[in-house]
């Protein structure tokens, strides 16, 4: 029970403190889940993120569901997901009820501009950490650069890039096995 409450609180905190959606949540997920709590490794976070890209739904919520399931099965998945969506429910409802007119106030706009700059710095930091973790061989570096270039300059959907990379990994293992025979 304590674990379920813990899951709810951690994801409530992550949901309530990140601006800008799924990707900007990554530095927070990394901090809360792998650095502070040691619940998942950075590699696992990347795996969940990859699966979240190819499955329906909001990526941040999918990641929460994954981590919750890993720690405490189906109840864990439900509590984590609810924790992740609760802050939005509360904040957006309050905003829609009372504060819609304040969102355009200059002081809010200035604060948000400042927050956006920090978000960019945090993201840059996260990408570097992830690259250190996932670029474990020259082939991996090549895959990473290819994925980056393809997604930046061509309309190839990210789902396809993830699937092709996965198929390459499976084939590589298959050839390795056959060569060993």
């Amino acid at each position: 029970m304590k674990m379920l409450f813990d899951l709810y609180c951690v994801f409530f905190r992550i949901g309530g403190l990140t601006f800008g959606g799924g990707l900007t949540m990554l530095p927070m997920l990394k901090y809360e889940l792998s650095e502070k709590k040691n619940w998942v490794t950075e590699d696992e976070l990347l795996d969940y993120y990859a699966i979240g890209q190819c499955t329906p739904g909001i990526i941040a919520v999918n990641t929460a569901t994954f981590v919750g399931f890993k720690k405490k099965g189906i109840p864990g998945a439900i509590f984590s997901t609810l924790g992740m969506v609760s802050p939005s429910l509360i904040i957006i409802t309050l905003l829609a009820l009372f504060l819609e007119k304040y969102i355009n106030a200059p002081i809010v706009a200035h604060a948000l501009s400042g927050i956006k700059i920090v978000v960019c710095a945090l993201l840059l930091n996260t990408v570097i950490t992830l690259a250190k973790k996932s670029f474990v061989s020259p082939v991996c570096v090549l895959i990473g650069i290819l994925a980056f270039v393809l997604s930046l300059f061509t309309p190839v959907p990210s789902v396809l890039i993830v699937i092709v990379a996965g198929v390459y990994g499976v084939l590589k293992q298959k050839f390795k096995k056959e060569a060993a025979k």
């Binding site: 699966i51 941040a60 501009s113 499976v170």
Partner: protein
């Protein structure tokens, strides 16, 4: 029965919007055309508000849209309906993964997927830099000298050994204060 309609519509969005929050926008536009819950213009302002409030954008949009359609119960219902399909799908995938995590093929697949996802994330970060720093309020290109310097300073500061363990919210708060003080 508006609640049943909200459930069915948002469950469908949750099931078919692959690729995260922004993927829900075309579905919401479609809802605006078919129901009198909200207009297409409302969707644009929902997006602006969702982006400037904490939480996943897709969830914020669902809460906001549900609220516009049927008040507080509508907001709650739309949000829960949106996450239900992915909850089911992810639990199934997680169960499969639990059984196959040590399988050499699965391991090798993820060995190749991880760098690919890192590349995809890097691309998305470039996109975020472009829209938040390099695009002026009227949509034209701008060279953000001061924001880039501040971004660099924050990057260096958060990599100082002693400050590495600080919660990211500390830096975000610092950014908010700087934004107000410098009138960014």
């Amino acid at each position: 029965m508006i609640y049943l309609k909200l459930f069915v519509e948002f469950f469908q969005i949750g099931l078919f919007a692959v690729g995260g929050g922004p993927a829900t926008i075309p579905f919401l536009m479609n809802l605006a055309d078919r129901y009198d819950w909200f207009t297409r213009a409302d969707v644009a302002s929902m997006l602006a508000i969702s982006e400037s409030t904490p939480g996943p954008i897709g969830i914020n949009m669902a809460t906001y849209a549900g609220f516009h359609a049927a008040g507080i119960p509508g907001g709650i219902l739309a949000t829960l309906s949106l996450v239900l399909p992915s909850l089911i799908v992810i639990v199934i995938v997680a169960k499969l993964l639990e059984n196959f995590a040590q399988n050499p093929y699965v391991k090798s697949a993820f060995w190749a997927i991880r760098p690919a996802v890192t590349g995809l994330i890097a691309m998305a970060v470039v996109g975020i830099f472009e829209t938040t720093l390099f695009t002026a309020a009227d949509g034209s290109f701008q060279l953000p000298v001061l924001p880039l310097i501040l971004c660099g300073v924050f990057f260096v500061v958060m990599n100082i050994q002693k400050l590495k363990k600080l919660h990211p919210i500390v830096f975000l708060l610092g950014g908010a204060v700087l934004g107000i003080v410098l009138r960014l």
